[in-house]
């Protein structure tokens, strides 16, 4: 099914933006790719890992983004083209290395960092514009606006990287990375390079100020290349009333706005694909023709503020402008942008009224549907082990009664902050931060702090960033319980293998890093439980929080329900015995459907009984243990 390795130049294919980036890398002849999964970047390495063996390249899921980029850089230092891909948070993790690698330069093999942003934080804890790393590190930046460009720019980025011996950043956003569109395939190279580290060279940022100066000279060279880049282009009249300057996802929305409002004879669009350093001559040429400029870009006003910086220098010669964009409030400086937002921005600037739906239909449609459509809160999947663990944590903390709480982390179990996890999670920041915070809470007893502290983190997060925090806690004799929610998967991002799964990115067997043994080797008490055994899990948590002093670890181990559904038959067939279920008159306050809330359980209002939805139930059988009437029946399959 994978078209990514199809050797058919000219073939027209429907590719996801991330697949197009992967294809571009293959067309550039990359031999090494490394990443830690994170949406919206995960499919880049995921796609490459599927074809790695056949294409004779090396692909790995690394333990975190910094290590991924370091591994990829080693290939570049040894003459091979290499790529690393990461979400915005990953760029933060890798930034210390990036801001030294810029000074040391890369090797003879081109090195490209794909940074994908998640506007509106649909799959993230934070919203952030990773383009700033390019400005911060004096690195060339490229922003694809179409699926075709996602492929073509990636391919070209390696040539650029080699021509100036610098890391090149390609920034995508979810509406490109996770969308699909037409891509015409190019050729796949056959030859492979031999890797060799030239020991006459060093990759060390010695004489940093001098290297910083050299970096600026490299950027000047890039600026010259960018002036005539085919990734920049203008469409519109010679002297437009309004010039839209756009990059990335903004390009399609700008085209749609001009078409929808029928203003193509009045409004021009300058698409900039090379957004750092900016091609200043090209911009000056177009800005000389206009007095009004609207910026269309996603997340921060990066392009907008950088163009304004240039405009301040030009203004004595070329004139002055009225600027519209994120700073003027025409395009909001947060969240996703979309066609409606841009249509309305152009409508306002051009004083051209726009109504999405004529004749009152819009209002009627909204009114008729609004009261009928219930919200859908995100929840743990039916049969998810995290629900069971949080249930046990909730009950243990309640029984303990000292106001204990959970410091959370990044993964599916982040939902523990809401109704799905019974509101147990009280802090959530970066990967590993839950345990880092717990090490601090665990020192506060000197100041009267007497609440039990639990940190939770998933198995993949444990390897990524929680180990240093755990060691910090042990070394400094902090007082807390770390709960590792081991579901044997990087579930949030699409079930990529990691150091604990016994499998590599390309599916070959790997040593299993045993989290329990690793913790034992650090000298702490380690308990293991199956969260589907609610009583045992609750008792173990209670026991651990009462065994005050030092760090204690509980590994709550049960496979992700989605992985399980693929691999094995459901353990139980579950149903509600209508004779035993007392419904509203039970006195349990509908514990199963109102509080436990597994989506596999539904409430039949007419019969006033709980029922099991056979479409959703995964047969874990946990709910049978919470029903006070034993009305939920599980039978072995």
């Amino acid at each position: 099914m994978s078209v990514i390795k199809k050797n058919a130049p000219g073939s027209n294919e429907l590719l996801m933006g991330n697949e197009a980036i992967a294809r571009g890398a293959l067309e550039a002849g990359i031999q090494f790719a490394a990443a830690y999964p994170g949406n919206p970047s995960s499919e880049i390495i995921g796609t490459l890992s599927e074809v790695a063996e056949e294409m004779g390249i090396y692909v790995e899921w690394s333990v975190n983004e910094k290590v991924a980029l370091e591994a990829a850089a080693s290939a570049s230092f040894s003459g091979l083209r290499a790529l690393s891909a990461m979400k915005q948070n990953g760029v933060n993790v890798a930034s210390d290395f990036i801001l030294n690698l810029n000074l040391s330069g890369v090797g003879a093999g081109g090195l490209v960092l794909v940074a994908t942003d998640d506007p509106a934080a649909i799959s993230s804890t934070n919203e952030e514009d990773s383009r700033f790393i390019a400005k911060l590190g004096d690195l060339p930046l490229l922003e694809p606006a179409t699926f075709q460009e996602a492929k073509d720019m990636t391919k070209w980025a390696f040539e650029l990287s080699e021509s100036i011996n610098s890391l090149v950043v390609l920034r995508s956003v979810s509406r490109i990375s996770h969308a699909r569109g037409n891509v015409i395939l190019g050729e796949l190279p056959r030859e492979k390079k031999t890797a060799r580290f030239d020991t006459s060279k060093i990759f060390i940022p010695v004489s940093a100020p001098l290297r910083h100066l050299t970096l600026h000279m490299k950027l000047n060279k890039v600026r010259e290349i960018y002036e005539s880049s085919p990734f920049n282009g203008y469409t519109g009249p010679e002297k437009p009333e309004l010039l839209m300057i756009t990059s990335g996802s903004g390009w399609f929305y700008s085209l749609e706005a001009v078409k929808t409002l029928n203003v193509k004879d009045h409004v021009g669009i300058l698409k900039v694909g090379t957004t750092w350093p900016l091609p200043s001559k090209l911009l000056a040429r177009h800005m000389a023709n206009v007095k009004r400029v609207l910026f269309v870009e996603e997340v921060d006003p990066f392009l907008e503020n950088n163009v304004k910086e240039l405009a301040a220098e030009w203004s004595p010669e070329i004139g002055s402008w009225t600027f519209y964009g994120k700073n003027s409030g025409h395009v909001h400086p947060f969240g996703q942008i979309n066609p409606d937002l841009i249509i309305n921005a152009v409508s306002k600037v051009m004083d051209k009224p726009y109504a999405a739906r004529e004749g009152g239909y819009g209002q009627k449609a909204l009114e008729m549907t609004k009261t009928l459509v219930p919200n859908r809160d995100l929840s743990f999947c039916a049969g998810c082990p995290h629900r069971a663990t949080f249930w046990a944590i909730k009950n243990a903390l309640k029984l303990d009664g000292r106001g204990g709480f959970v410091a959370g982390d990044i993964g599916c179990y982040s939902l523990g902050l809401g109704p799905a996890g019974f509101f147990q999670v009280k802090t959530m920041h970066a990967m590993g931060s839950g345990t880092g915070l717990a090490t601090g809470f665990g020192q506060l007893h000197k100041f009267g702090f007497d609440q039990p502290v639990l940190s939770v983190c998933g198995d993949s997060t444990f390897f990524h960033a929680a180990i240093p925090a755990l060691i910090n806690g042990i070394y400094n004799k902090s007082n807390f319980v770390m709960v590792v929610l081991d579901n044997s998967a990087t579930a949030m991002t699409g079930f990529q293998p990691h150091a604990g799964t016994g499998k590599t990115a390309t599916g070959s067997p790997a040593p299993v890093i045993d989290i329990g043994k690793l913790c034992q080797a650090l000298g702490v008490r380690v308990e293991t439980c199956d969260p589907f055994n609610l009583q045992d899990t609750t008792e173990k948590i209670l026991d651990l929080i009462n065994a005050e002093g030092g760090v204690r670890v509980l590994i709550s181990r049960q496979k992700c329900a989605l992985v399980k559904a693929r691999e094995e038959k459901a353990k139980y067939k579950v149903h509600v015995d209508p004779e035993k279920c007392l419904g509203e008159s039970c006195g349990c306050a509908r514990l199963c459907t109102r509080i436990f809330k597994c989506p596999g359980l539904i409430w039949n209002k007419e019969k006033s009984k709980s029922e099991v939805d056979e479409v959703l139930c995964t047969g874990c059988g946990v709910c049978a243990d919470i029903c006070p009437q034993s009305a939920i029946v599980r039978e072995e399959n």
Binding site: M1, S123, R175, A179, R180, L255, T369, L372, V373, D377
Partner: protein
């Protein structure tokens, strides 16, 4: 085959886990094969966790469009879950919109808990009929269960869409893409699921 409108805007909606991404991909790939420009925008992140999900498909002979359909501009809505049809038509519907809707609800937790009401199927039908040019209701989940797994729901709904002739693809084009996508033992069941959906709307 030609487009009734350019771009033709299709939304496939449902609840995370129902397979709307796969459905949109099958249709998209079949259309690219017929030399259309296709852009698909997907909601993601919530796809496995009970959230409302949508795929926007934009089909054109002229150019590539953005992955998001503007408000009020959907031509066709395929809903794998009935209230999701209402949610989408409320925002993207217009007097010419057509709707193909699976009749079986997936209750949001807010409904199970008792904080929200789920409308009756009759009320849903009435509302959709009041807002859409034409609508089809298919018991896709029930057919899927009768075929042995709720996982067939999306393919049954792809079949139902094929039966309406709303998108410029012949039945053979769908069948071919299903053949390619399900090599091996799952093919026969998926082809049957497609046929069962198709016969529910064909000529209706």
């Amino acid at each position: 085959m030609t487009l009734s409108k350019d771009p033709l805007n299709l939304i496939i909606t449902g609840v995370g886990g129902q397979g709307n991404v796969l459905a949109s991909q099958l249709i998209g790939r079949a259309l690219v094969r017929e030399n259309f420009y296709v852009t698909i925008g997907e909601t993601y992140g919530a796809t496995q966790r009970g959230g409302a999900v949508m795929s926007h498909l934009r089909i054109s002979k002229e150019s590539q469009f953005s992955p998001l359909i503007p408000e009020g501009q959907a031509d066709i809505v395929v809903a794998l879950e009935p209230v999701e049809a209402l949610r989408v038509i409320g925002q993207y519907g217009n007097p010419s919109v057509s709707a193909v809707v699976n009749s079986r609800p997936i209750f949001p937790t807010a409904v199970t808990v008792g904080d929200a009401e789920y409308p009756s199927f009759q009320k849903i039908q009435e509302t959709i009929r009041g807002l859409a040019r034409k609508s089809w209701f298919v018991d896709a989940s029930d057919i899927a269960l009768s075929l042995g797994s709720p996982l067939f729901t999306n393919i049954i709904m792809v079949g139902a869409l094929a039966g309406t002739n709303l998108i410029p693809l012949a039945k053979e084009a769908f069948v071919e893409i299903i053949r390619e996508s399900f090599p091996g033992p799952k093919l026969a069941d998926n082809l049957q699921a497609f046929e069962r959906g198709l016969e529910k709307t064909q000529g209706q």
